[in-house]
């Protein structure tokens, strides 16, 4: 499978998995693992930035459509898509990313992937949850939700690397 086809396939599978299965998994009543971010995480290093932004936009929009939320996921994923190259630079190994590799556990190790995932997920959840409440009234309870959900999402994403989305 070509790299584009593979990414499109991953996009569809992750969105469907998210809205049909994982959205029904509510832990403690408000923690949902947002695994669809995995699509953004696994996009190749060389993806043009505009394409990353557009892909992030489409990803968020699809999830929004299914969840009947107006634009919140879109805003959060576009933000993450915009920040991802900077995060990648921040976490880059000493001699940079090698060509022909992908942002995966296999190439850059478990700790690298965990750091990278946590950063992306945290930013995404932070944006998402605060847009959701749309006010700063419950600032700390929302913050707690951000942290707990981030841990859950990141753990699910990292684990999925070892079992399901190995390829």
């Amino acid at each position: 499978m070509g790299i584009i086809a593979r990414n499109i396939f991953r996009f569809i599978v992750l969105v469907l998995l998210q809205v049909l299965v994982l959205d029904n998994v509510m832990i403690n009543g408000y923690m949902v693992p947002y695994v669809y971010l995995l699509f953004l995480l696994l996009m190749p290093f060389e993806t043009p930035r505009w394409l990353q932004l557009v892909a992030g936009f489409l990803l968020g929009l699809s999830v929004d459509l299914f969840e009947n939320t107006p634009g919140m996921h879109t805003a959060a994923t576009v933000l993450v898509a915009f920040l991802r190259p900077h995060l990648l630079n921040l976490f880059a190994p000493r001699d940079g990313y090698e060509p022909e590799t992908f942002p995966r556990v296999r190439y850059y190790g478990f700790y690298w992937f965990l750091k990278y995932t946590l950063a992306v997920v945290m930013i995404h959840h932070f944006a998402l949850f605060y847009l959701e409440v749309f006010q700063l009234k419950d600032f700390f309870s929302t913050l707690l939700r951000v942290f707990l959900s981030s841990i859950l999402s990141a753990a699910t994403i990292v684990l999925s690397q070892f079992f399901v989305f190995r390829e």
């Binding site: 469907l16 505009w50 932004l53 459509l65 299914f66 009947n68 107006p70 576009v78 847009l131 749309f134």
Partner: protein, 272 residues
């Protein structure tokens, strides 16, 4: 002009980012109108199709909850029925503080159940806080289950009909002869009914119901059917009763509260 173009080129990604975020923000801000827009109508059709497929699975997964609700509804209906049967009884009208009915059904879930012991007990998830006290009757949708033995704040233990300490007055539906229902510790499917006098006419398959003498159960709750009988020392029948309730697969029960029990016991005490 050229500098402007170069500027746009330089910041094209930032501009795209801001543009996409702007769309998202507009969506969020217009969120309240979102529901009515045509866009969502179309979207509903697509997602609706998918959700329809998934709903089958979800339905299966929530069967437990649905079941629970059905049991609750059942209790409500039984309560209403009780209310009406009080009104139909024209010889007297019952007025109790809790309403015009005598028996109240409270749904409960079994949290622990033993079947294969001699002294089996059931634990249910309703206790004193829900108004469950000693000597209240417990029934399932199939029929008689047992009697509440002890209750704590949130739980209660029940002596089921398949406990060797269990004793209850029961009668044969067709002839109204009453006897004592007990369990011989043999099989969880069968109980025994003794002290039915020898002149009663019995047939295999006759229905056994509660007698209502004990002030625990209302009259006529199903217990089981006659499976076999023999004359025991000439004067009384010993009857084997096939129980209606399947104790092995019991999950939801109803606890029966008799509002007039105190009054009845008081009167009987005074008369003695």
């Amino acid at each position: 002009m050229r500098t402007l173009l170069r500027l746009i080129q330089k910041y094209s990604n930032l501009l795209l980012f801001l543009f996409l975020e702007a769309i998202a923000i507009v969506l969020i801000v217009r969120g309240s109108y979102y529901q009515q827009s045509r866009f969502i109508q179309m979207n509903r059709q697509v997602t609706g199709f998918l959700y329809d497929r998934v709903d089958g699975v979800r339905e299966y997964l929530t069967l437990r909850k649905v079941n629970q609700r059905l049991v609750e509804e059942n209790s409500r209906l039984k309560n209403r029925l009780e209310l009406f049967s009080g009104q139909l009884d024209t010889t007297r009208v019952l007025r109790v503080e809790k309403g015009a009915y005598r028996y109240y059904y409270l749904p409960a879930r079994i949290v622990h159940n033993s079947v294969y012991k001699q002294y089996n007990y059931i634990t249910i998830d309703k206790g004193k806080k829900d108004g469950v006290f000693r000597d209240m009757g417990v029934v399932s949708e199939q029929g008689l289950v047992g009697i509440v033995l002890e209750s704590s704040n949130h739980f209660a233990t029940v002596i089921p009909a398949i406990n060797r300490d269990f004793r209850l007055s029961a009668k044969i539906l067709s002839s109204n002869f009453a006897g004592i229902l007990y369990w011989d510790g043999d099989s969880p499917l069968y109980a025994r009914l003794s002290e039915i006098p020898f002149h009663a006419e019995l047939t295999v398959g006759d229905t056994i119901v509660t007698s209502g003498y004990s002030a625990i159960f209302p009259d006529g709750i199903g217990v089981g059917t006659i499976d076999a009988f023999s004359l025991e020392r000439g004067n009384f029948y010993d009857i084997r009763v096939k129980l209606f309730t399947e104790f092995q697969s019991l999950f939801h029960v109803n606890v029966i509260r008799n509002y007039l029990r105190e009054e009845q016991l008081q009167l009987e005490e005074n008369t003695r």
